[in-house]
């Protein structure tokens, strides 16, 4: 019995260690990805505009090395020669190290002639917002009129006909396998 608890505790510890490693190491690995985007409705003078998108600085997050990653990211952004810098969320999570953050922002603002745009409070928007409330076609009136069985049958034999037939093959394989495994003498 103790060995089982040890095993479960070890599994949970491994999971915790993996998530910690992700937070401390992978999250600090700053990469640059170049993409060429088509913008059909935009005026022709803006062709060739370089936009640098940064996100998830989490500046001020205390038990981590975000300062180094942040400086590296700003270095890469400045080296890319941007016209415009956009922060798409998770900009800062605490007041710790605010002067350094301001210094880096001033560097960015100096490098980008069109300016730096920051999306603040993206988590707040996610929490305070609500779902659109757009629902599909199967509402209570349809269920009362046709019944669940007919609705499911209609979907199963039209949209899902191919998986239905493949499932029958799966069941055949399972039956043959089970019989062979459990036989006394093959």
């Amino acid at each position: 019995m103790t060995k089982n608890w040890l095993r479960a505790a070890a599994a949970l510890d491994a999971a915790a260690a993996l998530s910690l490693a992700y937070m401390l190491f992978e999250a600090q690995w700053v990469r640059r990805v170049d993409r060429r985007l088509e913008a059909p409705g935009v005026a022709a003078e803006l062709d060739g505009l370089t936009i640098v998108q940064l996100s998830d600085f989490h500046a001020g997050f205390v038990p981590s090395f975000n300062r180094r990653a942040m400086c590296k990211a700003v270095d890469m952004a400045v080296a890319a020669g941007p016209d415009l810098v956009v922060f798409t969320g998770d900009f800062a999570t605490g007041p710790h190290g605010a002067e350094e953050l301001h210094a880096q922002l001033r560097r960015l603002a100096g490098a980008a002639p069109l300016g730096v745009f920051v999306l603040f409070l993206t988590c707040w928007f996610l929490i305070k917002g609500s779902l659109t409330g757009v629902t599909g076609s199967m509402d209570a009136a349809q269920v009362v009129k046709y019944g669940h069985v007919e609705l499911i049958g209609k979907a199963l034999f039209t949209d899902f006909l191919y998986p239905f037939e493949i499932t029958s093959l799966l069941l055949l394989a399972a039956i043959v396998g089970a019989v062979i495994l459990a036989k006394k003498k093959i």
Partner: protein, 100 residues
């Protein structure tokens, strides 16, 4: 109908109970039962979302999950029968050599 979150919380609780059971228990048949519980927790989630979003696809997919679960249980139990014939036990502690 209840709010969507209630069904999701119940499904999460069932899924975690199943996961803990798979990690903790020694009897292979109990482990199969816990796997079934995890699959059923997912079924509950799919049905709750199907009702909430007004789309029948969730309920149709539950059919396929149940079918796959049945096939897997049949093959798994047959495997346990074959294993028991060799080792006289279905304790997973005894499933520790590759050669039967």
């Amino acid at each position: 109908m209840l709010a969507l979150e209630n069904y999701l919380i119940l499904s999460a609780i069932l899924f975690s109970i199943g996961t803990v059971g798979v990690l903790i228990r020694r009897n292979a048949i109990v482990i199969f039962m816990c796997v079934e519980m995890m699959l059923n927790a997912v079924n509950l989630t799919l049905i709750a979302f199907s009702k909430y979003l007004g789309n029948i696809d969730g309920q149709v997919f539950v059919f396929f999950i149940m079918t796959v679960a049945a096939a897997e249980a049949a093959v798994g139990l047959a495997l346990m029968i074959a294993f028991y014939k060799n080792r006289e036990s279905i304790d997973i502690e005894d499933m520790n050599v590759m050669k039967l």
